[in-house]
């Protein structure tokens, strides 16, 4: 019997052949944390070792509340900077870089065959590059800092096959929302998801990141795309580190295989207050919307901003709809400035935020009031997520979000093409 990607990589790391269901103790290549590093430092100090085990394996990226929104957050950031200096940590990214899930790949840390643990649930994103990447808690991150090790259960694998091509106005975000809506927020709990099929190889890296990012919303431990020529070309410019492409064997065993014909898909939207409450956009079109958020680690890359700009070019967003644009990183921001995308969006009346997590998690920058509705390209619509428990969050693609901003009500982007 062959092995899945996840079984292979955890076998390599454990130094013995393992299969789904076994528990291994392994040393991650990378341990990511962000603003929560302040809390991790507290746990690390309780353990009582003076130095971290492997400074090279620690990546800290400040992104959640940047710049600091109040003095408490400022103190958190200060605590982290002092620790980074004291421990001489080489991979620290301060507030100017952007969201960790974009910045980590841009800096060549998300490589095929690597084992990446992150103290953030959307760590699954790096599966877009063929890494095994899973979210963990703060105490676990502290334990990795101290020991270099973590225990993991080898996951079963769910295979998702994509066939054919998207119709115009339909994107990767619609595909992943449809998948989650069809099968539920816990369908892949504790499992790996391998995204494959002929269409998966045609997805841009940006689209692959959207899918791997949202694998977390199906409960998955990790998502995965087979690294191909596109992946390798992207990585070539970003890393000098050696890596090895790891793929599932043809006779590997899967828990189930789900198949999707993308050509039959129409734009999708996740309705309040769960990510699996998904409907076609056309079914709820017309609902008034007071705020739109385009960006985040799910859909804040150049490709996403360009899709929005194509719809908003030469037009103005509805006066009753505050439209926020949140590029995923400074690199994305710069590319979008140079290309003129930012100019188009700003001229259309969008508010351009600095790269970071911003309002997505409800900490600062554009929170909602009671009774308000937002259409966001982010990954979660839980009650209260964007700051008010009596507001409503809908999740959709950048095209649907931009069309909605223009019309001031939920709008199927195909009506504007």
């Amino acid at each position: 019997m062959g092995q899945t990607f996840s079984e292979k990589i955890l076998s390599q790391k454990a130094g013995r052949k393992v299969q789904a269901g076994e528990v291994v103790t392994v040393s991650p290549d990378i341990c990511l944390s962000h603003d929560n590093s302040a809390a991790i430092i507290g746990e690390f100090k309780k353990i009582g070792v003076p130095r971290v085990k492997n400074p090279e394996a620690i990546v800290i990226i400040l992104d959640h509340i940047v710049p600091a929104a109040d003095e408490k957050y400022a103190q958190n950031h200060k605590t982290i900077r002092e620790f980074v200096r004291e421990q001489n940590l080489p991979h620290f990214f301060d507030i100017q870089h952007g969201v960790c899930h974009q910045v980590l790949p841009e800096n060549g840390f998300a490589l095929p065959g690597k084992l990446i643990m992150g103290s953030d649930s959307h760590t699954t994103t790096y599966g877009a590059f063929g890494a095994f990447a899973a979210g963990i808690g703060r105490t676990e991150a502290a334990s990795i800092w101290a020991t270099g090790e973590i225990w993991l259960r080898v996951p079963e694998t769910l295979k998702v096959e994509f066939h054919c091509r998207f119709a115009e106005g339909v994107y990767a975000k619609d595909a992943v929302l449809k998948l989650i809506g069809d099968h539920g927020a816990d369908r892949a709990n504790y499992e790996a998801i391998e995204f494959c099929g002929p269409a998966a190889g045609e997805f841009s890296l940006s689209a692959r990141m959207t899918l791997a990012n949202m694998a977390a919303e199906m409960g998955a431990k990790n998502g995965y795309f087979i690294p191909d020529a596109l992946t390798l070309a992207w990585l070539k410019a970003r890393t000098l580190l050696p890596f090895e492409v790891v793929q599932s064997d043809p006779d590997a065993s899967y828990e189930a295989v789900l198949t999707y014909d993308l050509s039959a898909l129409e734009p999708q939207i996740a309705c309040p207050h769960t990510v699996d409450n998904v409907k076609p956009v056309s079914a709820i079109a017309g609902k008034p919307v007071q705020q739109v958020l385009i960006g985040t680690c799910t859909n804040g890359r150049l490709e996403d901003l360009d899709i929005a700009a194509r719809i908003l070019k030469g037009r103005t967003v509805s006066p009753g709809t505050r439209t926020l644009v949140l590029p995923a990183s400074r690199q994305v921001y710069l590319e979008a400035v140079r290309k003129g995308t930012i100019e188009i969006l700003s001229e259309a009346g969008c508010v351009i935020l600095n790269p970071g997590c911003g309002p997505c998690l409800g900490a600062h920058q554009g929170l909602l009031a009671a009774g308000e509705t937002v259409v966001s390209t982010s990954n979660r619509n839980f009650r209260g997520r964007m700051g008010n428990r009596d507001s409503e969050i809908y999740l959709a693609s950048p095209a649907t979000a931009a069309a909605t901003a223009l019309e001031g009500k939920i709008t199927d982007p195909r009506t504007l093409l």
């Binding site: 603003d35 302040a38 353990i47 963990i136 334990s143 259960r153």
Partner: protein, 162 residues
């Protein structure tokens, strides 16, 4: 054995409603976290929960963010255990690492209602409510060491000989 009462919730109780993001990146002591426990799901909970009470929920409890406060706040509020049909992966790990009992028991999840008297006997592996007794799914062997050590920090200290 002291008896607590049941707080009953549905499927997919997520970490944002257990511990809202607006407090997540501020360091606060556990007793402060307890004041915000389940704030966006059930504002009455934090005001009236008593030590020994048990949360009973449906499937996928704790889905969403990796924030550990979602486990810490319930423990600090005195919750003796969370009983659910199933738990989301990161939440399950966090709860064990922080010493919050997470018990998988489909029968208890279906049978118990809000306000029912309830107790958990960890040694016997049972949940009791009046005349009813349920057996919960034992923890995987790999993590029993962490629970026995009193959480991951203590476990790691032991491992490092500290």
């Amino acid at each position: 054995m002291s008896t607590g009462r049941v707080w009953k919730y549905g499927d997919d109780v997520n970490t944002d409603v257990i511990f809202p993001g607006r407090y997540t990146y501020t360091l606060m002591p556990p007793e402060e976290m307890a004041k915000h426990a389940l704030e966006d799901l059930d504002p009455e909970f934090a005001k009236t929960v008593k030590p020994g009470d048990v949360i009973v929920a449906g499937k996928n409890f704790g889905c969403g963010s990796s924030r550990e406060q979602a486990a810490a706040c319930l423990r600090a509020a005195g919750v003796k255990a969370v009983v659910a049909k199933s738990f989301a992966r990161i939440y399950f790990r966090n709860a064990i690492n922080l010493g919050l009992a997470v018990l998988q028991c489909e029968e208890a999840s279906a049978a118990l209602s809000a306000g029912d008297p309830v107790d958990v006997d960890f040694a016997a592996g049972t949940i009791t409510s009046g005349p009813l007794t349920f057996r919960f799914f034992p923890l995987p062997e790999s993590v029993i060491g962490i629970v026995q050590a009193g959480g991951l920090i203590e476990y790691t200290k032991k491992k490092l000989g500290l």
